[in-house]
C-alpha cells in the first residue's frame, strides 16, 4: 500500500509539469503555430521563478512565494513566446527554425545571467513548499492520504488548468475561434475572425503555461536550477501527439509518460525482480509515441493548418 502511495506521489512530480506544458503546446498548435520551443520556454520560466524564490524565500510565506514565483515564471515564458509569435505570425518565418533558435537561446541566456549575477551557474533554493496535510480534506481516509497529504499546491493547479483548458477550448467562443484558425484560417478570416490576434493569443498562452510548467518541474524534484529541464519540453511535445491534440487524452498520455519516468528513476518494488533495465522504461514513452504516430497518420488529428503561415491572399 505504501509502495503504491509512494509511486503515485512520485508520478505526480512528472505528470503535472508534463500535463501543463503539453496543454501549453495544445493552445499554440490548435491555433496553427508549431511550438518546438516548449523546452526553451520551460527553461526561461523555471529560471525566472527560481531566481525569485532564491531572493525572496526568506521574507515570505512559502505558499505565497511559490504562487508569485509561478506567476513570474508564466509571465517570463509569455515574454519569451512573444519572439516566437513575432517570427511565425508577422514575419512568416519557418516556425521550426524559430523554435530551434529559442531552444538554443534559453539555456545560454540563463547560464549567462546566472553567472553574471552570482558567479555560479546553479541557482540554489530550498524546498519549503511541501504541504504535509491539507486541513479537513487530509483526514478523509484513503483519498485524503493520496491526494491531500504530502502534496504541492502545483498539483491542484495542474488539474485546474486541465479543466480550464478543456472549458476554454470546447465551451467558449474564443476556443472555437482558436481551433478554427488551426484548421482552416482562410475560412476563419472570411467569417471575420482576426487570425493574427488568435494565433498571438494561442502562442502567448502556450508560453505562459510552458514557463509555469518549467518551474513546477524543478520545484519538487531539485534544490537548484542549472539551466536545464532534462528534455521535458520535447517529451511534452510527444505527450501532445500521443494525446492526439485533445485535453483529456493529453492528461492520460502525461500520466502514462510520468509513470514510465517514475519507474525509470525510482524503480518499482514488484518489477525489480524482473530485472528489466531502466533503459526500457526510459525509451518506452518515445517508442510508444512513434508507434501511435505510425498508426494514426492516415487520419491524423493534428490541426490541418499547423505550421503554415497565414496568408490572407490564399483561398
Amino acid at each position: 500500500m505504501s509502495d503504491i502511495l509512494f509511486l503515485f506521489q512520485q508520478t505526480m512530480f512528472f505528470f503535472i509539469p508534463l500535463l501543463i506544458v503539453a496543454l501549453g503546446g495544445l493552445f499554440s498548435e490548435r491555433s496553427g503555430i508549431i511550438n518546438i520551443a516548449l523546452e526553451g520556454m520551460m527553461i526561461i520560466g523555471a529560471f525566472a521563478g527560481i531566481f525569485f524564490i532564491h531572493f525572496f524565500q526568506q521574507s515570505m510565506d512559502p505558499q505565497i512565494c511559490l504562487l508569485v514565483a509561478l506567476l513570474i515564471a508564466g509571465l517570463s515564458g509569455t515574454l519569451f513566446a512573444l519572439f516566437h509569435a513575432i517570427a511565425s505570425i508577422n514575419m512568416k518565418a519557418d516556425q521550426t527554425i524559430s523554435g530551434t533558435a529559442l531552444n538554443m537561446f534559453a539555456p545560454a541566456f540563463c547560464i549567462f545571467v546566472a553567472r553574471l549575477v552570482q558567479q555560479t551557474q546553479q541557482v540554489e533554493f530550498s524546498n519549503t513548499f511541501r504541504i504535509t496535510k491539507v486541513p479537513v480534506l487530509g483526514d478523509i481516509p484513503f483519498i485524503g492520504e493520496f491526494l491531500f497529504q504530502n502534496t504541492y499546491i502545483t498539483n491542484f493547479l495542474g488539474i485546474l488548468i486541465l479543466v480550464l483548458s478543456w472549458l476554454i477550448l470546447y465551451k467558449t467562443r474564443f476556443g472555437l475561434r482558436l481551433r478554427s484558425c488551426g484548421e482552416l484560417p482562410q475560412a476563419a478570416d472570411s467569417a471575420g475572425i482576426n487570425v493574427y490576434k488568435i494565433r498571438y493569443a494561442g502562442t502567448l498562452i502556450s508560453g505562459f503555461l510552458a514557463g509555469m510548467g518549467g518551474l513546477i518541474f524543478i520545484v519538487p524534484t531539485s534544490t537548484n536550477f542549472n539551466a536545464d529541464v532534462a528534455g521535458y519540453g520535447f517529451l511534452a511535445l510527444a505527450v501532445l501527439i500521443f494525446g492526439q491534440w485533445k485535453p483529456w487524452h493529453i492528461a492520460g498520455a502525461a500520466f502514462f509518460f510520468g509513470f514510465m519516468k517514475t519507474i525509470a528513476s525510482a524503480g518499482l518494488p514488484f518489477l525489480a525482480s524482473l530485472s528489466i533495465p531502466n533503459y526500457f522504461y526510459k525509451i518506452t514513452p518515445y517508442v510508444a509515441t512513434l508507434i501511435v504516430l505510425a498508426f494514426t497518420s492516415k487520419n491524423s488529428a493534428a490541426p490541418r493548418a499547423e505550421g503554415e503561415p497565414f496568408d490572407k491572399g490564399k483561398r
Binding site: I36, D94, T96, F112, I241, I283, L290, S297
Partner: protein, 362 residues
Amino acid sequence: MKKLFKSEASLNFASSVTAIIAGLIIGLIVIIIANPSNALNGFLTLIQGGFSNGTRGIGQVLNNATPIILTGLSVGFAFKTGLFNIGTPGQFVVGAFVAIYIGVEWTFLPGAIHWLVAIIFAALAGALWGCVPGIMKAYLNVNEVIASIIMNYIGMYTVNYIVPLTVFNINKNETLPVASSAVIPQFGIEHLIPNVNGGIVIAIILVIVIHIILNKSVLGYELKACGFNRDASKYAGINAKQKIVCSMMIAGALAGIGGALVYLGGTGKCLAVVDTLAPEGFNGIAVALLGLSSPFGILAAGLFIAHLTIGGSLMQIYGFIPQIVDIIIAIIIYFSAFALMVKGILANGFHFKKKPKVKEGQ
C-alpha cells in the same frame, strides 16, 4: 546595382550577412551591459577568434569546425529535399558510438583501413537512424520533425545504455579511448598546422562530394525536384517516396560520420555518458541555415561558427562568460529565419514590376 540584387546568389549572401551582423550587434549590446569597461577588448577577442593564437588557433578552428560542417551538411542536404532533419544529435551520437566501438574492439584490422572501416560503419549507423523518420515521412506521412526529435532521445538513451555494457571506462564515466590505428591520419597537413586533425580533410572531401551529388548527378536533380514540388516530381516519373528515404539516409550518414570524426580525431576525447543531446547536432542547424544549404556555404559557415566559439572561450580572459557565443548563434538562427521572408519580399517585389511589362508586350 539592380543586377546585383537580382542575382539569387548575392541576395542569399546578403541575407546571411544581415543575420550575422544582427547577431553580432545584439551580442555586442549584451557584452556592453554585462561589463562596460572591458566590452571593447572582449568583443575584439571574440571577432579575432581563432586568429589570435597563430597556427595553433587555426588548427583549433579546423578541429572544432569538422563535426559541425558534417552535421551542417546533413541538415542542408535534407533541406534540399524539403525535409527538416532535426535528428542530427541522435544520428551524431550513434555514429560516434559505432566508430568508438570499432576503434576500440576491432584491432585485428590493419592500421591503414581501421579508421576507414570505423567511419563507414558510423555512416551506416547514422543512415539507419535517419531512415526511420524518412520511412515514416514517405510511407506514413508522419511529420519528420517530430519523428526525428523522438529518434534523438531513443538514440541518446540507447547509446548511454550500451556504452556501460561494452567499451566503458568506469572511472571517468565515459568510453575507452580508441586504438592508435583507428585515429584518422593527418594526410601531411600537420606540416602546415601542427595540431590539426585529419578529420577536416575528410570533411572537405565530403563537402565536394555532396556538391557534386546535388548539382551534377541525376540523383541530386531528383532529390531537389522532390524538394521543390513533390507532386510535380511524381508526375515527372520520380519515385518521390523512395527519394525521401534516400535523402534522410544520406543526411543521417553525414551526421554519423560527424560523430566518428570527433572521436577518431586523435585528441583523446571520449564520449561521456550523460543524458544530454549532442550540441554538435543542433549547431549543424545553425551552420546549414547560415550556409544556405549549399555545401561550400556550409563549409564557410562551419569555419565561421567554430571561429566564434574559440573567440568566446578566449573572452574568459576578460571575465566574460563563453555562453555569449551560443546567444549570438541563436540570434543568428532567429534572424536567418526572417531572412527567408525578407528575400521573398524582394523577389516578389521584382515580379510585380515585371508583370505589367509583359502585358504591354501582349
